[in-house]
């Protein structure tokens, strides 16, 4: 693997310090930026060729394809940044549909005047996360807009993964039956509250870390350990409650969740209490909800526990034949209430 970058160009650019409109023009400045930053960090044969489109070898007949845009504010937060998020988000969308993520694209919309050092940090963290997740960023695009026409930087990533025949049902969940167990790989609400706490206007000191992580490794382990997986979904915007309420909607089964089984970190809980938020509605970026055959649940949890992102995995509820179309929660104090989708926007620009 060789790179066409000379560190000289990057150093010169960093001296200039800011992204200029010319960096998105397609001319010399664009070329320098691509060579010295994107090609350097993403570092793969596809990019080195600098062709308009990457040519991919796809090893499967069925591929999974997804896209997501990232506008998180602030762009750096405890536990991650917009770059890491842009990789994890798309990797996770592929992984929870049962696919093995392979290739990503990355499109950047950057505000004129954005510091090049910050862009380098973001690109570097995308490269690190992509490597960790085992995916290759094979194509990309950069546009620069006038100051004030976008807020710092927005990133779009699209991803392609291969999927095996026996996992095609996972995205839709049409094999779910009453008695199936609902599993999650740990605490809820960390990402949303970490991002919110990082916003300066709240003036809150907190060390809540985002759970932002690529889950494909964990999910591979689970799929290898058991064929009892009926459904998976990452609990991002709208939180765990929204995933479950959406899943039950218009189905002939219901869902019961045990609040006592949910893990909410004390600082997340305290912050939620302070602001009147429901942790069940707060975004996660490293949590997968798995619906599994009851006989496989123990084996699945065991496999999850072996992975760094699955240490706190647990069964939090089950699919029931009663309450068709609805999700309910048995509250920690012994009451029962409906679990609904998040109405409206709880936190804008959380991812």
């Amino acid at each position: 693997m060789h790179s066409i970058v000379t560190t000289g160009i990057l150093n010169k650019m960093i001296k200039n310090d800011k992204i200029l409109l010319g960096h998105g023009s397609g001319g010399k400045l664009s070329h320098d930026l691509i060579s010295s930053l994107f090609v350097k960090y993403f570092n793969n044969d596809y990019l080195d060729k600098q062709t308009d489109a990457a040519i991919l070898d796809l090893p499967a007949n069925q591929v999974s394809f997804t896209t997501d845009s990232f506008v998180v504010d602030p762009i750096f937060f405890p536990g991650g940044d917009i770059g890491k998020l842009a990789v994890c988000g798309t990797v996770n969308d592929l992984a929870v549909s049962g696919a093995t993520p392979l290739f990503l694209s990355a499109g950047f919309i950057i505000e004129e005047g954005f510091p090049i050092v910050d862009l380098e940090t973001i690109v570097c963290s995308m490269a690190t996360e992509a490597k960790k997740a085992g995916v290759v960023i094979v194509t990309g695009d950069t546009k620069v807009v006038n100051r004030g026409k976008c807020d710092k930087i927005f990133i779009n990533t699209a991803g392609i993964g291969k999927i095996r025949e026996q996992h095609l049902h996972i995205g839709e969940g049409n094999l779910i039956r009453p008695g199936d167990k609902i599993i999650i790989n740990g605490s809820i609400g960390d990402h949303g509250m970490a991002v919110l706490a990082a916003r300066k206007e709240l003036n809150i000191q907190s060390d809540i870390q985002s759970d932002c992580a690529s889950l494909n490794g964990l999910i591979q382990n689970v799929l290898a350990a058991s064929d009892g997986i009926k459904f998976m979904r990452d609990a991002t915007r709208g939180g765990l409650a929204t995933v479950l309420a959406e899943l039950a909607d218009k189905k002939n089964f219901g869902i019961i969740v045990e609040e006592s089984q949910l893990l909410v970190r004390p600082k997340v809980r305290a912050f939620c209490e302070l602001l009147g938020f429901e942790p069940l509605h707060v975004a996660n970026e490293g949590k997968v909800v798995i619906i599994a055959d009851p006989g496989s649940a123990a084996k699945i949890i065991h496999a999850m526990n072996d992975h760094e992102f699955g240490k706190d995995s647990r069964v939090i509820g089950e699919i029931v034949s009663g309450y068709p179309g609805k999700a309910f929660i048995n509250t920690g104090i012994g009451g029962r209430r409906i679990l609904d989708m998040l109405a409206g926007e709880q936190l804008p620009r959380i991812c």
Partner: protein
Amino acid sequence: MKFIDEYRDKDLVLKVSEEIRKISSKPITLMEVCGGHTMSIQRFGLPSLLPETIRLLSGPGCPVCVSSRRFLDQAIAYSRLPDVIITTYGDLIRVPGSSSTLDLEKARGADIRIVYSVMDSLEIARKNPDKKTVFLGIGFETTSPASAAAVIGAHREKISNFHLFSSHKIMPPAMAALIDEGVKINGYIAPGHVSTITGTSISQDIAKKYHLGCVIAGFEPVDLMESILMLVRQYEDNRPGVEIQYRRAVRPEGNVKAREMLDEVFELRDDWWRGLGVLHASGMGIHKKYSSFDAEKMLTVEVEPTREDKGCICGEVLKGLKNPKECKLFAKTCTPQNPAGPCMVSNEGACHAFYRYNRNS
């Protein structure tokens, strides 16, 4: 979490639930005045722990819900003025006005900022001396002392570009008006946070005049269940009176200093309440002495004629005459995403709480 877990103790809640079942022999209707109580009751699923003899009604204690549509229309008109920054609690942002919302105005370019405290608004005024900052003051005795403190602070620091648009209200006239209007209840789950300021006096007046039990309640499940138990006991023994359940926060004499600030900044005026109409001396206008901080005095706007949604029964819901589910619009054309009335917008609104936690049970 300390100070919370103790009040969410399952065994304790179930024990109180059992006790209520044991002693409640005749039907009793209780009204929780405060929107925070409504939210807690639904969030923790407390109705599922109560016997059939007990009926809970949501009252008029959600500030967003009782505020007039004209207040919102006027706030929207302020937001359209050049060089005005509107600062508001997040609750108001999506409440429908006659033809717009603050949300919509923000999208159209108005400078509207959500704050968590009126003091943030004061800070925004300090940092933007060339603009006028208007704070939309809603709420009862719980939030009005902070607004009063902001006005006093602006006066002291000569922050002349800070303006309060007050829709602040006081609770007792509404609690009395409900009974006068013939709403049949057997006791009030009285507002906990309002009472930290007012003390027990507001409940004393109601209890005496209407022979009704008033228990000043906290906001956690154990608080609410215990308060219900206390009210049931009073009712069964036919000895209605005032009791404080929320002892860790409420003192009989209330917060004297906060009340002094209220008296300093505000004067009572007649005010309009959704569902109840105009109630005598129920609103808090800004005292003449501070009129230079009064948005209504300092900013001139033309306000569009008020238009109410047909079919919305928020007024009756606020009076406890109807359950949100009895509304034709509920969960059909009126949802939190697309609210027809204020009770569906506010987190503390009865319609919102029912939609979120109790829609189908």
